[in-house]
């Protein structure tokens, strides 16, 4: 029996999507990875349709990298203020969350799967954007405005590879894309709604551990080109500072190395090869600290970058 072909998720009727999800047979491709998802939560199907229309899916693909589920834990909580749990092969790494957070939990769970298992890559906590085959790495601590800037640039000429996770192939030093939705928090949701009114944004979910969160759909072209690996040419640590002029400062290589190691999920796992990847990267890519207040100023600065 030949396996069912992969088709764009948006071409599926809602009932078909819901049925594949309920049977645990939906295989969803994101960059190099396939997630097989099992859930009966309607909010997950709704958000997948809204945010993943261009991603390829198949019914019951023979191989998936991760088999995940969003399920209601047993017991009274099933009915009384229902909760949902993320599981990988039956294992629940997190405490359960209120059912309205089901889709956000799926996104976080998928991040966890990658960050704690995909040691075929050097994994950095950073956004990645590309222009053609030249990519910029945006590592930054939470609250620095990394996701907001990444969301904005991804609709202004830059191709979104990833909002949270940089997957670097240790052999080639190239970075792979996931092209998944951008996770926006709190004030960033309103900002993006204001500057990118024509984009698809999920209904904000209040009271999560990270505050109010919403997800922004990646542009169609970014999804179609997710398989196109890129070479990192620049490292930029963005810092949003209200009212500030745009200021940049070169980060010395030793400091930049320490910062990248800090942002790596699996530096300890890859050891010497991770060190080689990062020093190689710093040999060709300047590391720059960028302080900005206006997204448009930042966009112009990024546009002027030359490899």
């Amino acid at each position: 029996m030949t396996p069912a072909p992969f088709i764009p998720l948006g071409s599926l009727p809602r009932t078909t999507l819901a049925a594949w999800l309920a049977q645990g047979q939906l295989g969803l491709r994101t960059g190099p990875l396939t997630f097989r998802i099992h859930t009966r939560e309607a909010i997950v199907a709704e958000n997948l349709q809204l945010l993943y229309p261009h991603h390829l899916v198949a019914n019951d693909p023979p191989f998936a990298d991760f088999h995940v589920s969003i399920e209601r834990p047993r017991g009274l909580r099933r009915w009384l203020r229902p909760q949902v749990e993320f599981r990988l092969d039956g294992f629940a790494p997190f405490l359960s969350l209120p059912a309205p957070q089901a889709f956000a939990l799926l996104e976080w769970g998928m991040n966890w799967c990658i960050a704690s298992h995909c040691h075929q890559y050097l994994l950095l906590h950073a956004a990645v954007l590309a222009r053609g085959d030249d990519a910029v790495l945006l590592p930054a601590p939470p609250g620095a405005g990394k996701s907001t800037l990444c969301a904005y640039l991804s609709h202004r000429g830059w191709r979104l590879l990833s909002d949270e996770l940089a997957l670097i192939d240790p052999d080639t030093g190239q970075v792979c894309g996931l092209a998944r939705p951008v996770n926006l928090k709190n004030a960033a949701i309103g900002v993006i709604r204001g500057v990118l009114p024509d984009t698809r944004l999920s209904t904000p979910v209040p009271d999560t551990k990270k505050g109010t969160v919403a997800h922004l759909a990646p542009p169609a072209e970014a999804v179609m080109e997710a398989g196109r690996a890129a070479t990192l040419r620049w490292i930029v640590t963005p810092r949003y500072v209200a009212g500030s002029a745009l200021l940049t400062e070169r980060i010395a290589r030793p400091e930049a190395l320490a910062m990248l190691i800090d942002n790596a999920f699996n530096y300890d796992v890859l050891g010497a090869s991770a060190f080689a990847v990062l020093t190689g990267l710093l040999g060709r890519a300047p590391a720059i600290d960028l302080q900005y207040a206006l997204l448009e100023d930042a966009r112009q600065w990024f546009e002027a970058l030359r490899p």
Binding site: G90, W108, H119, V269, G271
Partner: protein
């Protein structure tokens, strides 16, 4: 969709984990299930080590990244444990005590071939009971700090158990379990740890470090599987026993007799009979035929508990079986009044170990 249970029996899985030729027969769908089961059973490292011996084209392209990732993890583990062992050896050196390793770290240090790629999290060591306070002091000085600070847990470990509360290194986050006995102080069996320490032998792959003599090593592993209440790694631990039987059996034709003699000396004949029975029954391990201990009920319980715990192959009653074995193990570990008290405490004060999002 459930996989047929017989298709993924412990013996089938063990065969696949050990034999590249059997792996080569799997299609993509077979690999999909195998990787899921191996990941959950914590034996992905073993799978990767075996798959490494396959020609690249015998492995579906989609699986290769997982094998590569697991190889990286197992290399990291070998590096980290090697370093940890050196640090522990240097600390115990100050007391003039040799470092005696148990379980996973011991298999690694002894270079046992079946343990290549074995994942484990803590390093277990055995020290003389009368020196336990000094050992705790010197480890503190070298950066390991006690965990389990609440009064109940402190009492649980110090009055009843065979080990100190786990000690975590302040900088590296690694955990060492310091054992001074083989079984809890409150257990019904009382194997003599002194003679096990005295008969410990140098570890071939680690200078200045000791491991238990072959028969003692197997008896210790058997005793743990028999007494352990929680069996999240039951399948992996069963594979250890199988590996120990086969490896030492092949090296020494008198191994089974030595085992019997040591088991009698140490009062561990029951766990040994249990280990032989379960290994032969579930994995087809070549062992001396033993009178099966327990009953068809315990066999049914262990069949469930010693499979990888995965929704694909869990059977009706798997959860109940694991709970009954948990109670049984505690029954063996402590007298009834303590058991009732302990289970009551655990039921009321269940601590979530999972991450809060």
């Amino acid at each position: 969709m459930k996989a047929p249970t017989t298709a993924w029996s412990p013996a089938t899985l063990a065969g696949l984990l050990a034999d590249p030729a059997q792996l080569a027969t799997l299609d993509e769908r077979g690999w999909d299930t195998l990787i899921r089961l191996a990941r959950r059973a914590n034996v992905l490292g073993k799978l990767a080590i075996t798959a490494q011996d396959l020609p690249a084209d015998a492995l579906p392209a989609a699986c290769r990244p997982h094998i590569r990732a697991a190889l990286a993890l197992s290399a990291r583990q070998a590096r980290a444990v090697g370093w940890e062992i050196e640090c522990l050896r240097d600390a115990l050196d100050e007391l003039g005590l040799p470092l005696v390793l148990l379980k996973g770290a011991a298999y690694l240090a002894a270079g046992l071939p079946f343990a290549r790629g074995r994942f484990f999290s803590d390093v277990d060591i055995l020290v003389p009971r009368q020196r336990i306070a000094e050992v705790e002091g010197v480890l503190l000085k070298h950066g390991w700090a006690g965990t389990h600070h609440d009064a109940y847990d402190q009492r649980y470990y110090r009055q009843w158990m065979h080990e100190l509360p786990p000690m975590r290194h302040l900088r590296r986050g690694t955990v060492v379990d310091v054992h001074h006995r083989i079984l809890p102080l409150t257990a019904r069996f009382d194997p003599d740890p002194v003679s096990m320490l005295e008969q410990a032998i140098p570890a071939t792959h680690c200078e200045g470090v000791r491991v238990l003599a072959p028969a003692d090593m197997l008896l210790h592993s058997a005793t743990h599987l028999f007494h352990e209440g929680e069996l999240p790694n039951g399948f992996r631990d069963l594979l250890d026993l199988d590996g120990l039987f086969r490896h030492f059996g092949a090296q020494d034709t008198d191994f089974e007799q030595t085992l019997d003699r040591r088991a009698r000396q140490l009062h561990l004949a029951t766990p040994l009979a249990f280990a032989r029975h379960q290994c032969a029954r579930l994995l087809g391990t070549p062992v001396c035929p033993a009178n099966p201990p327990g009953s068809s009920l315990t066999d049914a319980l262990y069949t469930r508990a010693l499979h990888p715990h995965h929704p694909l192959i869990d059977r009706p009653g798997s959860g109940l079986a694991r709970w009954l074995l948990y109670v049984r193990a505690h029954w063996l570990r402590m007298p009834p009044h303590l058991l009732a008290w302990h289970l009551g405490h655990k039921a009321l004060c269940r601590n979530a170990t999972r991450e809060q999002l």
